[in-house]
């Protein structure tokens, strides 16, 4: 049974449609990375799954139930983001006690140890924490609740490099020991690609790609060579992204070629290699280097 099922789900705020006719299934006990550019509806999707906001149309099922106002979904799900509200009057230690009262799988020992490791004293108040520390605390709560459905929306906001690395590591270790469905959204694909199994790419109000991370990588190949050589041999491919560093030019193209073509390319001195998941992601969402340069170049020309 998939953990999350969406059938033609639409979400609009007044006149703005954020997600349009979305169809997808999130597999159970898999870490899925939710990626996409700013404002494509990643957070909206997660909040809908969490039952915080109501779908405008379509059928949404989480753990077999409609999440809006479902106690079952709420009890088996946690949604971590930097907007998470905690009462001002309670200290971090009090908050852990509250988590223990509300979440069945809560591991108090793990939470205490992690907070100690991240140098978060239990006597502090959530409100006085710095942005990075607050994110760290929320992330620790997300890991230690061990909810069957755990969602992190930009969990690393404000964290320093060390804390980010530790968070990914802690999440992976705990996931291996206690498998669960994890949805993780972040813009730092390169940092989390080792952790992810599936990728869900949201683009233009719809799912642009959903599959395993190797499938995403296999969609493209990277061709490196002199620009004129590339132009001569590789023009028949759909070029997703061009960049040049030094004498060599790199084209990321659709992975759609025969073996014969491949040998031909290699004979022409073009280096053919696989792309990383984050390169594939950047290529797919058009976050190519020099993209915004075009805006300024165009202004200068006029």
């Amino acid at each position: 049974m998939p953990a999350i099922t969406l059938k033609n789900v639409t979400k609009s705020y007044r006149s703005i449609t954020v997600l349009n006719q979305l169809n997808l299934e999130i597999r159970e006990n898999v870490i899925t990375g939710l990626v996409g550019r700013n404002g494509v509806g990643k957070t909206t999707l997660m909040k809908m799954v969490a039952g915080f906001i109501k779908e405008s149309d379509g059928e949404l099922r989480v753990l077999g139930e409609r999440p809006f106002n479902s106690l079952k979904v709420s009890a088996n799900m946690i949604f971590i983001d930097d907007m998470m509200g905690f009462p001002d009057a309670l200290t971090l230690g009090d908050l852990l006690t509250e988590c223990d009262r509300f979440y069945e799988n809560w591991d108090q020992d793990l939470a205490m140890r992690l907070l100690k490791y991240f140098k978060l004293p239990l006597s502090l108040n959530h409100r006085v924490l710095s942005k990075g520390k607050r994110s760290t605390f929320n992330a620790v709560v997300g890991i230690a609740t061990r909810c069957p459905l755990t969602m992190f929306d930009e969990p690393i906001t404000g964290m320093d490099a060390g804390a980010r690395r530790d968070f990914y590591r802690a999440l992976l270790k705990d996931y291996l020991a206690h498998p669960r469905t994890i949805l993780l959204s972040s813009h730092h694909m390169e940092e989390m690609e080792d952790l992810l199994e599936d990728i869900l790419l949201i683009d233009g109000k719809d799912s642009a790609f959903h599959g395993s991370i190797t499938e995403l990588q296999e969609k493209f190949i990277s061709l490196q060579g002199k620009e004129n050589v590339l132009k001569q041999y590789a023009n028949r491919y759909a070029v997703i992204h061009k960049s040049s560093a030094g004498p060599l030019t790199e084209w990321i193209v659709d992975n759609d070629h025969t073996n014969l073509e491949l040998t031909e390319l290699k004979q022409a001195g073009i280096r053919v290699s696989a792309v990383s998941a984050s390169e594939a992601y950047l290529a797919m969402t058009g976050q190519t280097r020099g993209g915004v340069d075009d805006v300024f170049d165009a202004m200068e020309r006029e």
Binding site: K47, F52, S74, G85, P87, A89, Y103
Partner: protein
Amino acid sequence: MYSTQWSVNELAKRQFFLKLNANGAIFTMLIVLQIIATVFISGAVTTTSMNDWGEPISFNFTSISNDAQLGLTLFWAFIVGFLLTSAAQRNESFSFVTNRLTFQLANFYFFCTAALLGGVTTVLLGSVMKIIAMFRDNMIIETAGLLSSPLDFLSRIFVMMAYTLLLMLIGYTLGSLIQWSKLFIALFGVIWYAFTQSTFAVADNENSGLLYFYYGETSILLFTLKIVATIAVLFAISFFVTNRLEVRNP
């Protein structure tokens, strides 16, 4: 795997305890307000008047009331009701396990607790006032107390609790509606204006109007019925709104 199942009742209880832990400041506020009312305002309410009917007979009347504490407690109740509809309160509850029904029930339990405390303390403050008056004016006051007429005393506590709860639910319902749509602010402004015009301006006709419906009731049973019915209606209206509110939504 998805084994965790809560009953609505159990979760509402846990959410209620979370609310009690998180909102201790609300009770501190009540105590501070009551101290202010006792120390600063009660002097103003205590009025002395003298009647002189010639040589042999003259009277000094001193009337003391705890209307100030009463008013401030009711004001506090309204604010508390309003406070609990804030987005922050909702976000805090929804950081833990809840749905909108358990959220509403937990709020209601909280109001009942606060009304109990507010009602009891306010009526007891009446006794404090008597002690103050006794020391200041050196006189003995005989009014209905716990020992002389326990039923009267208890009914005062009960009525005060009922009013406090009512005010909280009014605040809560108004707050919920405003959370739903800001247009209600304008609407309530108009209603308030009409209400004050019709209720307070007509001094010659005391036995009518909305407020008289409650305070004019002499039977405690009917009074209870009226209050319970009103609270039920307010609860239903506020739940109608709460049940569709979206959380953590900018």
